[in-house]
Symmetry: C2
Subunit: 268 residues, 2 copies
Amino acid sequence: MASERPRKRKPARVQEDEGGEGSRSVRRAMDILSLMLARGGPVTVAQIIAELGIPKSTAYELVRTLGEADYIAPSSRGAGLFIGRRLYELGMAYRNNVDLLRDGAHVVEELRDETGETVQLSVLDNQLMMVVLKEEGRGHLRIISNVGTRVPVNWAAAGRLLVSDLPDEDLTRLLKATIRQSPTGKAIMNVAKLIAQIRKARRIGYATELNEANAHAGCIAAPIVDASGHCIAAISVVVPEQRLTKPHRDRLLASVTAAAERLSRRLG
Amino acid sequence: MASERPRKRKPARVQEDEGGEGSRSVRRAMDILSLMLARGGPVTVAQIIAELGIPKSTAYELVRTLGEADYIAPSSRGAGLFIGRRLYELGMAYRNNVDLLRDGAHVVEELRDETGETVQLSVLDNQLMMVVLKEEGRGHLRIISNVGTRVPVNWAAAGRLLVSDLPDEDLTRLLKATIRQSPTGKAIMNVAKLIAQIRKARRIGYATELNEANAHAGCIAAPIVDASGHCIAAISVVVPEQRLTKPHRDRLLASVTAAAERLSRRLG
DNA sequence: GACCACGGTCTAGAATATCGGAAATGATCA
DNA sequence: TGATCATTTCCGATATTCTAGACCGTGGTC
């Protein structure tokens, strides 16, 4: 029978979507979780079907499978589904096992206690700056970024440090592809100017910024470097504008660079 | 309508495995993540194949799919794969969206700052007590449990509060099924005695414990209740034995119950 | 250099998840 | 109460994913 086997690649499904081999259902399951992450709140099955183009029956099947494992769960308030507790557990396991986060948590806390200001630890993720740890200062300053969110590197002092190890060419490409104007309209958009700032930041070992990412707030950041001297992360304090007087600023800078050095040393 | 209705049940599937319908690959992908969680460290593909009984090609396929989405990633130190950054992001989204964790984080921190001791917030998860938030005290006391780990309810003061709303019958069943002796050998194993303690804790509004879960440490816990008065979580301080003098103990108890009340109120 | 053990990829046939549609359930409202 | 719409489950046919096992490269050992 098999004599007639049309050997041709058979993408009968014109569903060309994007490049993807591998398990379809697994990717779709992950897409569902990503959708919830993007929305930042509960999502209904109907939305999943509409947004992701997953057939009804399949969507319900996936939702059930994910639900049984507590990867998703009915939202506590209101209708809809959201990320479930199991993913929190997995996330915490990641945190406990990654040197940067495990050791970083202590240093971030110390720096917060020492300065009383909001402290963040950020890394470069997929060409963007991503906040991976945050401790609120006493001032309850409103910060745009939460743990897990990503912003273009030109929005923040820490972002500049994170890309400071790239050669000119790669750096230019990254900047051209990713920089955006920030909500405050104060972010630098000129690539040449940005590169100059980035190189300078690396040379002097810290970076500062005022009103670029957050209105009425400034930021002081210092690089975390690995054994080979590469910048793998940046630690930063976010400070209300009016508190950024010269003496306080100097004190903060000293604290931040000291904390960065402490963490760099701990990471070996 | 449809005159020809083949209504017959057709469970021809010899689906032997264990209870499970739904997408196989999705469940297997989740099993891989669970394995990593259980191991608490890097896992090799060979281990995945051996432990989960997944065929080689399938295992590699799944690993690739998960890897492309950064759900898993090569472990930083040494060989093997571990939970990836994407899961950290998802976990943080859960944290930011769940009232208990979002509001709880503040209260836990406050209580830590106020007392200087290690503070934990726990919930009941699948009949076990699970720590969902933790802030280290200044004393660097070694605690057995980390965020995400589960222990039997008879190991800790908080555990007793968490099950204190169950009717006698369910409570007995739960205890019989889950209690274990703790590493220190001091956990109460007698069900009747445990129930008496649990009922008392609920009546007086707090629970205490000494050396049961951690050697040379005691614990004071208070319940977080929802609008209907049900205990949905418990907040607790863990204190080195020698610091548990009467006056300090009283002060701690007052702080803990106050924090619990604050959080309960915030949750509505 | 020959051999083996191992981590990983590839392929064609077998088994299963997927899909459209229909039926059931449940919520809303006149 | 019944009609209407939205949500969820069920069903069989079949295309897709999974599986077993061959295959490949690499590194270690004698």
